[in-house]
Symmetry: C2
Subunit: 457 residues, 2 copies
């Protein structure tokens, strides 16, 4: 039986014999009794196992070390100790897998840096039990949200010959022998696996648009890559993105979806990860639950980029970077704005020169119908836009930017063959997890993070 099931059916199991399989998290031995803090990983709560010296195997069990895998047979009884609802009175314990004295995950506080180095063992400690279960449940929330609303989940390709939006540096992919290239003195891409230079995608958006123009509503949820040499708390070289694209949807409609989706995910995680979220609220970010509960019922602010600059310029703050009309805003500005409105803020109509080529040009010819969602504590959580559906305007913009049309003809053609108003956004999954858990470093919400000079496991 899973411990999760034991908790769910506790009332009816009182007095019954159960069999559990899992691991010893802590072990206190006394002369007449022993207490094992036991978990099988199926839920955040542990079970207290109690064994006494009337058992033939008392001496043997007393030797079992922290980290060992065991199979327990015991009776569910009301706990005589404080705090706990029940405990399991051991009838028998079988050792399934031993664990040595020098097991790194001893029951004490470890630094996150140490745990990163022991990434293959850290899912066993409370913090990462909570983080990675929330990661899993949040992923399910996202799929449930979109699928129950008729979106088609599309697996866009990761290996690609186009550089997407030019959003970032790409990893190159090859089956050519680099040493042979060094020896021969030349690179022959015709001999490479795909017969040309290819890399790992930075976005699935462009391909997702082809699905939106066939299924009306589509979304991606998959890995994305950046070969950027930045060692910050919010950058990883491999991360997961959600990229919905919706036909016959304008910027207002897009914001409605973003707001609705975020509230849905937050509520889903609060409902399905109660203990984990309480843990984060208590030990990682005080006030987390308040923040999230408030989000669910609040109406997100919607404001233009120009209005944001006005507010920033009037603010009684000495900025590191001076806010200016027509220019991008910095992290300090994002922070101020979410605090100013005390909640999530949609910033719309950005200067075209700081946004991507495919965003719809507004009638002022200066701004594009783009929207960023800024949330307190995590900054930009989503970025989206209405897509330029006008063939000529899209081509002109690409020419202005000196972009190559090679490999993007199909994307442009979407505007020729029944193209229509359509919009989409991207949300970094890890950014969402940082917001949901209060964990600050992206390395701590990814099972095996990839960052510059770091690719273990």
């Amino acid at each position: 039986m899973d411990v999760k099931e034991l908790y769910e059916k506790l009332d009816s199991l009182m007095g019954s014999t159960v069999v559990l399989e899992g691991w010893i998290k802590n072990h206190r031995k006394q002369k007449e009794f022993g207490f094992i803090d036991f978990s099988d990983g199926t839920c955040f709560s542990h079970v207290q196992l109690v064994y006494d010296n009337k058992l033939d195997t008392f001496e043997e069990i007393a030797k079992y070390r922290v980290g060992s895998a065991i199979r327990v047979e015991g009776v569910v009884i009301e706990s005589v100790g404080s705090g706990q609802k029940f405990e399991v009175q051991v009838k028998d314990i079988k050792l399934m897998g031993d664990c040595p004295e020098d097991y790194p995950m001893q029951p004490k506080r470890h630094s996150n840096e140490f745990l990163r180095e022991q990434a293959y063992l850290r899912p066993r400690v409370n913090l990462f039990q909570a983080v990675f279960r929330v990661r899993s449940v949040a992923a399910m929330a996202i799929h449930t949200y979109f699928q129950s609303r008729g979106y088609v989940y599309v697996h866009t390709p990761l290996i690609t010959a186009n550089d997407g939006e030019g959003a970032g540096e790409m990893f190159q992919l090859t089956t050519l022998d680099l040493n042979r290239i060094a020896k021969s003195g030349s690179v022959d891409y015709e001999k490479d696996f795909f017969g040309k230079k290819v890399g790992l995608t930075v976005t699935g958006q462009l391909e997702a648009e082809t699905f939106a123009l066939a299924f009306k509503k589509a979304y991606t949820f998959g890995p994305t890559f950046r070969a950027e040499n930045s060692n910050t708390k919010t950058h990883a070289s491999e991360f997961w993105m959600i990229e919905p694209e919706i036909a016959f949807c304008d910027l207002e409609g897009l914001m409605n979806i973003e707001e609705d989706m975020l509230k849905y995910i937050v509520k889903y995680v609060l409902d399905n990860c109660k203990e984990e979220m309480e843990f984060f609220d208590k030990f990682i970010e005080k006030g987390l639950l308040d923040k999230l509960n408030k989000l669910i019922t609040s109406k997100f602010t919607r404001i233009t980029h120009a209005e944001v600059i006005d507010i920033l310029r009037k603010a009684p703050v000495k900025w590191e970077f001076e806010p200016k009309q027509g220019e991008d805003i910095s992290k300090e500005h994002e922070k101020y704005i979410t605090e100013y409105f005390n909640g999530p803020v949609f910033i719309t109509n950005w200067p075209k020169d700081i946004k991507a080529f495919y965003m719809k040009l507004n009638s002022d010819n200066k701004t594009v119908a783009a929207v960023d969602l800024e949330v307190p504590g995590a900054g930009e959580l989503m970025g989206g836009s209405q897509r330029e559906e006008d063939y000529d305007k899209l081509v002109n913009r690409m020419k202005e930017l000196n972009m190559s049309f090679e490999g993007l003809d199909w994307y442009i053609n979407l505007r020729k063959f029944g193209g229509c108003v359509h919009s989409g956004f991207g949300m970094g999954f890890e950014r969402l997890l940082i917001y949901l858990t209060g964990v600050e470093n992206i390395r701590d919400v990814i099972p095996y993070a990839r960052t510059p000079k770091n690719c273990n496991y």
Copy 2:
């Protein structure tokens, strides 16, 4: 309103005015009437739009070409024509996006080869509307199955320095400038992004095991890569895999899960993609629905590899490859066995020399506790095993195979730190889709397939 909603609420909408947005799939014009075959991609069924010459815009509407995006306002009425339950009597149509005469997706039969070349438009035709919706729904079935049973979804890394099981050729990943390597005559991996040679993963299993030993039940669902130069109907360079890993689970338990999961997915897809599955049954694989309905209620055969060889050797068949004890079986053997048992077959206890290093050695010292699931028509659908949980046996096996321990120390250590009986399997998602849809070529169940010398979009 989505067409899906219109169908769902049809009875209550009869006589009401609705607004629909979507595309013209076909257009027949007569003197007094016009008929538009209309779809918005939200469900497999189309809607017939009828407009007559009493409309001021009759002449204008009559010009709208196949492929155009339109916004329709009309009244839901009972159909006077044959076959259809209802049609929409047009009050107004607005052109949202034009489409030229030379639009490639004209309403006629196209070859799959042609459609592959037009991959960005093919989601608009019936076959691929059906395929890619089933792909999306099947993905949801998988997540729902595992999440509702308490599995943790883990995103295992795609960029990796270890070659997994040695299961296949890897793509190399680099940020080094190949032309510079050619010029300089040397390769300096210390200057590469991760400071060493890395590639794209061939499996997430090894990392998934670390999660099973923390959460008891874990699964991956993500992209996997093979740089194999094979141009067959069943091979792609980029595909999606599902890899569940379960602690305290032996080979029998694993087969129970595989069987239960497959039945669940099949039932889920049959329930949620009724029209699409009927389309496949009618046009792609006659008898598909019978095959799948039978699977749901059948008990899968369980038989050892040695028994299979016996059956094959006694079979009145002239084999291309002679079946032999201790050796692998070929496609013709797989086919014979599933036909012999007239359904899915689990083949267990394979000769260790043809299976991976991590599989649990049986007491005969010759076979391993591995299991392949063979299904009629699609061959091997899943491959799994009990994992070797014995530290010494695992290390010995790796030595026998002259494997390097570098980068795999953590994997071996799992056997030291509370290791226990555990098992897992892998299922190729596209293999499943081929089985579910009857579509024969893997290129036709992947939105943008990557194969040797082929990386467009």
